[in-house]
């Protein structure tokens, strides 16, 4: 019998590992289309995963969750001028110098965050962090996504692993198309994916009737 004549279906298995790749600390991202491209990723320190996005623009800050929903919006605080006349009044030339140094340090810190394109959760209000975590936990928790024996093995292989929530985000936000190999009932999802800041294209092939991942691959 030729391989093409094979008609059995593979058993589906569950995958329960968290966001971290096996033994690694890589950061993966699939950005929802509603999040502005310039928004900084919010990284959860415990899991090492991106759990949301933040952008400071036009005097306001905005935070989005992994679904691309706007979680919070607020006004940026007014910044003290670089050289405050009060510094001069209170401390003469020494006070003026202290004010200038404070302004320079503030500028350097802001530049570092923008340059890295990442932000920690510490700067966020507790309710915002909880809202971001709720969506993230929903993506990494047990759900309907299953794997074949082959794709489960790939999930356990360093270098091939893609976190479960990233696969789910690709299915949720990626472009949907028919499987080019013509497998009946299979759907292909394609989404831009970032690994440690480098962009790739992630493809996920899912059997629709039982949400089983038949194949995933990025390049």
């Amino acid at each position: 019998m030729e391989p093409g004549a094979y008609s059995g279906d593979e058993d589906a298995v569950e995958w329960s590992a968290g966001a971290r790749p096996p033994g690694g600390s890589d950061v993966f991202e699939v950005r929802p289309a509603r999040v502005p491209p310039g928004a900084a990723s919010i990284v959860d320190e415990a899991s090492g995963a991106v759990i949301g996005y933040r952008e400071d623009s036009g005097g306001v800050w905005m935070v989005w969750d992994l679904d691309g929903a706007l979680v919070e919006i607020g006004e940026l605080p007014l910044e003290a001028p670089l050289l405050d006349p009060i510094d001069l009044l209170s401390g003469g030339l020494t006070g003026l110098l202290r004010g200038a140094l404070r302004g320079a340090a503030r500028g350097a810190a802001g530049g570092a965050i923008a340059g890295a394109g990442r932000a920690g959760v510490r700067a966020l209000a507790t309710r915002t962090v909880l809202a971001l975590h709720r969506v993230f936990r929903g993506l990494i928790g047990p759900g309907s996504l299953k794997f074949t024996a082959t794709t489960a093995t790939r999930m356990a292989t360093p270098g091939r692993h893609v976190p479960l929530h990233i696969l789910r985000l690709a299915i949720r936000h990626g472009k949907q198309m028919a499987d080019p190999q013509g497998v009946l009932g299979a759907v292909k999802y394609v989404a831009p994916m970032w690994r440690n800041g480098k962009q790739y294209t992630l493809e996920v092939i899912v059997r629709a009737r039982d949400s089983t991942v038949l194949h995933f691959h990025y390049e």
Partner: protein
């Protein structure tokens, strides 16, 4: 994206290796899992230190068109995957090499920061139902037959051209369904 067949750096393989090759028609996925036999060599001092520090062993991926090769340097193959459909396969008689030295290969390519290299290489897929062999000829019909062969595993062979570039991969004893023994 470069479209040149990769040059291979060869190194002797001193442990027997077998590949569990299978084609799953329900997923249109060919996969091969490489399994080393024989005693595990004692870890080198550097490996011991890295294990102690929790640093994972490096795993690299070479993507040749539709083919995805995962290996652990220097040259130890871990897995090969390819989505493919039998409707595109050509019938061919597999010329299984009678003698092929047991070797590993390291592709002479540039990997990115995530240890991934993608080359846009076309491949023609052929199938021999008698030998249950799947053959991938890289570079389409423009490439001559390989000048020399070597064995990556008991049932997997690689063919090289005069410039030590990869011409062909041959997987024999291809089974059906998921690879046995992986789960």
């Amino acid at each position: 994206m470069p479209s040149v067949r990769p040059e291979l750096r060869l190194s002797p393989r001193d442990r027997p290796c077998r590949a569990h090759c299978s084609f799953d028609a329900a997923a249109a996925l060919f996969s091969a899992e490489f399994e080393l036999a024989g005693p595990e060599p004692a870890p080198r001092w550097v490996e011991q230190v890295e294990r102690g520090l929790g640093i994972r062993a490096r795993t690299m991926r070479l993507v040749l068109g539709d083919l995805d090769i995962t290996f652990a340097p220097p040259g130890q193959l871990v897995a090969v995957d390819m989505r493919t459909s039998p409707t595109l396969w050509q019938r061919a008689r597999a010329q299984v090499p009678a003698e092929a030295p047991a070797l590993w290969f390291d592709p002479v390519v540039e990997f990115d920061d995530n240890e991934l290299c993608v080359l846009d290489v076309a491949a023609v897929t052929s199938w021999d139902p008698d030998a249950r062999a799947l053959m991938l000829r890289f570079g389409g019909g423009e490439v001559d037959a390989p000048l020399r062969w070597f064995a990556l595993a008991d049932n997997v062979y690689a063919g090289l051209d005069a410039g030590a570039r990869l011409c062909e991969l041959m997987f024999t004893r291809v089974g059906q369904g998921p690879a046995p023994g992986v789960h």
